[in-house]
């Protein structure tokens, strides 16, 4: 993301202008903007005018609007965000208070002003505008009859293609059905690879599967590349890396990222770090359950005793439309940082973030054991 201008005052209010340049930047924008912020960007408005005779004409006008955001929709696949809100600045075409929806796309400049830029938002801004770019990784997770093609960047995991085909089992006396179907399946996966992976951007392509599916597929891929003379595959032959996974489902991406052979290839290991952090939480829960807490109430209670060594929290919580709630989360993060603890903000798009999201979205590893709270006082919304 390119930072075009930044104007913040001491109280923390102010505005910044940004240009998202990559798919991942859109994700950062999605996490930056909260309900109530003011967003200014160029947009197209359909303006209807009525002539004196009563016939009306509609025209599409490109204009710059500032809206106070009321709802945000994010499309991971198309990498677009739609901001819906009311117009808050005078404009020749649009009345004040009229609703408008701004579609934000890549390379479209916008400026965002907030009443209060809190620490989490500012951190996010720094991360997003960090110029040291890290390359993407493509991961192809397979098992017989199922393949998923994911693009893993530091903040996102996006499933680009999911291929599911029914493959007949081997039957006594005849394996032709099985072999033919497998061939067809590999063919489909190969098409997906060619269509969805940008070989100039992607740093390496992980092929993961249980058993020998990965070896078989790579063999097929290289054979086809020679047969059909697909140059792009032959040139990028060295980018393919075979990794073991326990299944072909998306959740095994966690194992793949934890694989040391892969970790070396991942320059920015945010995704892998998240996996490690979550695993260490589970290990702690196994060994010393009194030093691993989850659920907002429990974690907040631990924080009161300054016990938190590492806080794991998903960015989903910060997207809460409830300002007071967001503030509480931010306060928690700040207080953990102040007391010398580390904070890991998980991306809810990653598999590990997804898992943390289901585990109430917040967890903590403590410095010293604290007594578990009374069972009876547990309430549903929190512990589940």
């Amino acid at each position: 993301m390119r930072l075009e201008g930044r104007c913040l005052d001491k109280s923390g209010s102010g505005n910044v202008s940004l240009i998202p340049e990559e798919d991942e930047d859109m994700w950062h924008v999605y996490n930056l903007v909260t309900v109530g912020d003011k967003l200014k960007s160029t947009t197209i408005r359909k303006v209807t005018s009525e002539s004196s005779t009563g016939s009306s004409t509609s025209e599409r006008v490109r204009t710059t609007l500032t809206i106070s955001v009321e709802s945000i929709e994010y499309d991971t696949i198309a990498c677009q965000i739609r901001f819906k809100g009311r117009n808050v600045q005078e404009n020749p075409f649009v009345k004040m208070g009229a609703y408008h929806t701004i579609d934000l796309q890549l390379n479209q400049k916008f400026s965002l002003s907030k009443e209060k830029w809190d620490s989490v938002a500012l951190d996010r801004l720094d991360v997003a505008c960090d110029p040291s770019r890290t390359a993407d990784i493509a991961a192809l997770i397979m098992q017989e009859g199922l393949a998923q093609l994911c693009i893993v960047t530091s903040a996102m995991t996006i499933t680009r293609a999911r291929i599911e085909q029914q493959i007949p089992r081997k039957r006594r006396g005849s394996c032709t059905n099985h072999d033919k179907a497998l061939e067809r399946f590999y063919g489909t996966v190969l098409q997906a690879v060619l269509r969805h992976i940008r070989f100039d951007v992607v740093k390496c392509i992980l092929i993961a599967s249980p058993g020998f599916v990965k070896d078989q597929f790579l063999e097929y891929l290289l054979a086809e590349a020679i047969k059909q003379d697909i140059k792009v595959l032959l040139e990028n032959k060295s980018k393919f890396l075979l990794v073991h996974s326990s299944s072909g489902h998306k959740q095994s991406l966690k194992e793949i990222l934890a694989d040391p052979a892969v970790a070396v290839k991942l320059a920015d290991t945010k995704a892998a770090n998240e996996v490690k952090a979550l695993d260490s939480f589970y290990v702690m829960l196994q060994n010393e359950p009194n030093r691993a807490f989850y659920g907002f109430k429990d974690v907040e209670r631990a924080n009161e005793s300054n016990a938190i060594e590492m806080l794991l929290i998903t960015d989903e919580l910060f997207r809460s439309s409830d300002v007071a709630l967001r503030q509480r989360y931010v306060a928690l993060v700040d207080s953990v940082k102040d007391t010398g603890g580390s904070v890991r903000i998980f991306s809810s798009l990653h598999v590990s973030g997804e898992q943390l999201g289901l585990l109430t979205g917040i967890a903590a590893i403590l410095r010293f054991p604290l007594p578990e709270r009374n069972e009876d006082s547990s309430d549903d919304s929190d512990s589940n």
Binding site: S55, K170, S247, Q251, D279, Y294
Partner: protein, 610 residues
């Protein structure tokens, strides 16, 4: 306002509605009035109504009503010998569904008159009102019937006229299959499904391949071919394994990857053999096989070091033994293989037996149900013929297998068959393979495919290699289905009787027994849900309570996490709906396994469908 639209300057992009109108059905947009809904829609929460009550009399039935005239016209004197000739009516019926197919589409919508009280209509007992049967002195096992339907059913065989004329697929069955099954039980050997399990390279395929060869199921010619071919590949020792490992990939790599199926017979039993892969990556395939099995042969390698590596906590000897136990296998033969490599040492045999004994006892096997047999798959010693000059005086492997007791089959329950394989056979239709879990089926019958919720008719049934007119619970069958699109079938779909459909859900409450796991289970724990032949990603949504392993009493409500070797009640959300059954209704369809990162995490029983 505008009296005419400015068509010339019209911007089509703007005029078009957003959203793809073509991809949506009319019902997506328009809500149905509550009255219509209550009349026509199946209320999911309301279990009082059987889905069957919504269905129109199936084409098959309507068609069969017309039979008497046509049968009479052709002058077929079929009635009297009907019971002894089950094939005839089925042939008769077989061709019909295809003719009347258009009716099927409209069937579920048209005739609906329901009353809540009719939920207790059992399968096979519902028939349509027909004047000619009404007068018949029929026994009626389920007294309450749908309006417009009476229950003549189980029409006694003494009344051949009615049987023939009023036959409906189901009804024919009831008489037919059960009595035929009884006959078969008397005349033929009972069938048993046997899965072979054990650590990778324990010699499962070789042992079973050699056994098949010794029992005469593989011709000398084929064997010779395997021998020379395997030698060419430099894998001469794999020649017997090739009998079961048939794909090129399996032969080249020298390991089994998927379940291989074969039939053979021993003195008292007909055995359907399922040879499972031992490699840990193929445990999902192994579960598919084990879910269909009644009994198991656990193969362990007697070689020094090999047994130990298979028996360690990461080895598959343990995992497989526990898996099949959780999937309902209670009888076990432990084949201690490769005894030739330890020169048939009695000490080694005893050592392994003691170690396994204590482990299997912990795993929940009864001591009386386990037999230990030393053998050698490569040399073929003690497979079919007993050893003559040896310390071992017990039965050979084939004899021990012969001692398995066939489990009782839930023949009387509604028909269920879980699809384990789908392929295109010769001729029309799609072939599906699987084990019939309960009930029975016969060719020409109409069955419901769940979760696709499509009716289809069974054209032919292959049990083993031959066509049979019917099949009952416990049989491994290949059914040819007609009148259904292949996309509607998926692995894990269940074929069931339309009168008693299986439930579909993605959220279940289950009692799980947690294995020896490294990391504790919390809410939000991702797992892979292995159920029959499917594996789907799932998430443990809620930990409801931790219960005692033995008594089932609640130890702790809402635990924060579940640690190893505990038992708990949890809610599991599966990524997409599966057809599941309660454990109390159907044991085999109520069991599942949870795995994560290549380890089996827990075994579970479905106690509530949410």
């Amino acid at each position: 306002m505008a009296r005419h639209r400015n068509v010339r300057r019209l911007d089509f992009d703007e005029e078009r509605d957003f959203g793809d109108i073509y991809g949506r059905s009319f019902e997506d947009e328009v809500a149905i009035s509550p009255a219509t809904a209550s009349q026509f829609m199946y209320p999911h929460g309301n279990t009082g109504i059987a889905l069957s009550s919504y269905m129109k009399p199936h084409p098959l039935e309507t068609q069969s009503e017309k039979l008497p005239s046509s049968a009479g016209a052709s002058g077929a004197p079929t009635q009297p010998n009907q019971p002894s000739q089950p094939a005839l009516p089925s042939q008769y019926l077989r061709s019909e569904p295809s003719i009347k197919k258009p009716d099927k589409a409209t069937a579920p919508v048209e005739t609906v008159t329901i009353k809540q009280s009719q939920s207790n209509t059992k399968m096979g007992f519902i028939t349509h009102h027909r004047s000619n049967i009404d007068s018949s002195p029929a026994r009626s096992p389920s007294p309450s019937v749908l309006p417009g339907r009476s229950t003549p059913t189980t029409t006694p065989i003494r009344q051949p006229q009615l049987t023939r004329s009023s036959l409906k697929g189901k009804q024919l069955h009831l008489i037919d299959v059960l009595s035929e099954y009884k006959k078969r039980q008397e005349s033929e050997k009972p069938t048993i499904n046997l899965v072979v399990i054990g650590h990778v390279d324990a010699g499962k395929s070789t042992l079973m391949g050699h056994l098949l060869f010794l029992l005469g199921h593989v011709s000398k010619r084929t064997m010779h071919k395997y021998e020379t071919d395997s030698q060419k590949l430099g894998k001469a020792s794999f020649l017997y394994a090739w009998i079961l490992d048939e794909t090129g990939e399996e032969r080249n790599r020298g390991i089994t990857m998927d379940i291989a199926q074969q039939q053979f017979e021993t003195e008292h039993l007909k055995i359907h053999l399922l040879d499972a892969p031992g490699h840990r990556d193929f445990i999902p395939n192994m579960i598919t096989g084990a879910a269909q099995a009644d009994v198991a042969v656990l193969v362990v390698d007697a070689t020094i070091g090999s047994f130990e590596s298979g028996f360690e906590s990461g080895g598959q000897t343990r995992e497989h033994a526990l898996l099949v136990r959780s999937l309902g296998v209670t009888q076990l033969v432990v084949a201690i293989n490769k005894m030739d490599t330890v020169s048939w040492s009695r000490e080694r045999f005893d050592e392994i037996v003691t170690k396994l004994k204590s482990f299997l006892k912990q795993g929940g096997y009864k001591e009386g149900d386990i037999t230990y047999v030393p053998c050698s798959g490569m040399t073929g010693d003690n497979l079919t013929s007993t050893l003559t000059d040896s310390w071992y005086k017990g039965p050979s492997l084939a004899q021990s297998i012969d001692r398995f007791r066939p489990p009782p089959r839930p023949v009387e329950k509604p028909f269920r068959c879980c699809i384990a394989d789908i392929f295109k056979g010769q001729g029309a239709g799609i072939c599906v393979a699987g084990k019939i879990e309960s009930g029975y089926v016969q060719s020409g019958e109409t069955v419901l495919v769940v979760p696709a919720n499509e009716l289809t008719s069974v054209k032919t049934i292959f049990g083993g290699d031959d066509i049979s007119a019917w099949a009952v619970a416990g049989d491994q069958v290949v059914l040819t289905l007609i009148g259904i699109d292949q996309t509607k079938l998926a692995l894990g779909s269940v074929l069931c009787s339309p009168e008693a459909p299986v439930s579909i859900t993605s959220l279940v409450r289950a009692r799980i027994i947690i294995f020896n796991i490294e990391l504790p289970i919390t809410a939000g724990y991702p797992v892979i849900f292995h159920y029959q032949s499917v594996s789907e990603p799932a998430v443990i949504k809620k930990l409801l309570s931790q219960v005692s392993k033995t008594s089932g009493d609640v130890i702790r409500k809402k635990p924060r996490c579940l640690t190893k070797n505990s038992s708990a009640i949890v809610e599991i959300e599966i990524s997409r709906p599966l057809s599941l059954e309660l454990y109390s209704d159907c044991k085999d369809l109520g069991r599942f396994m949870l795995r994560y990162a290549g380890n089996t995490v827990a075994a579970g029983l479905i106690i509530k469908i949410l």
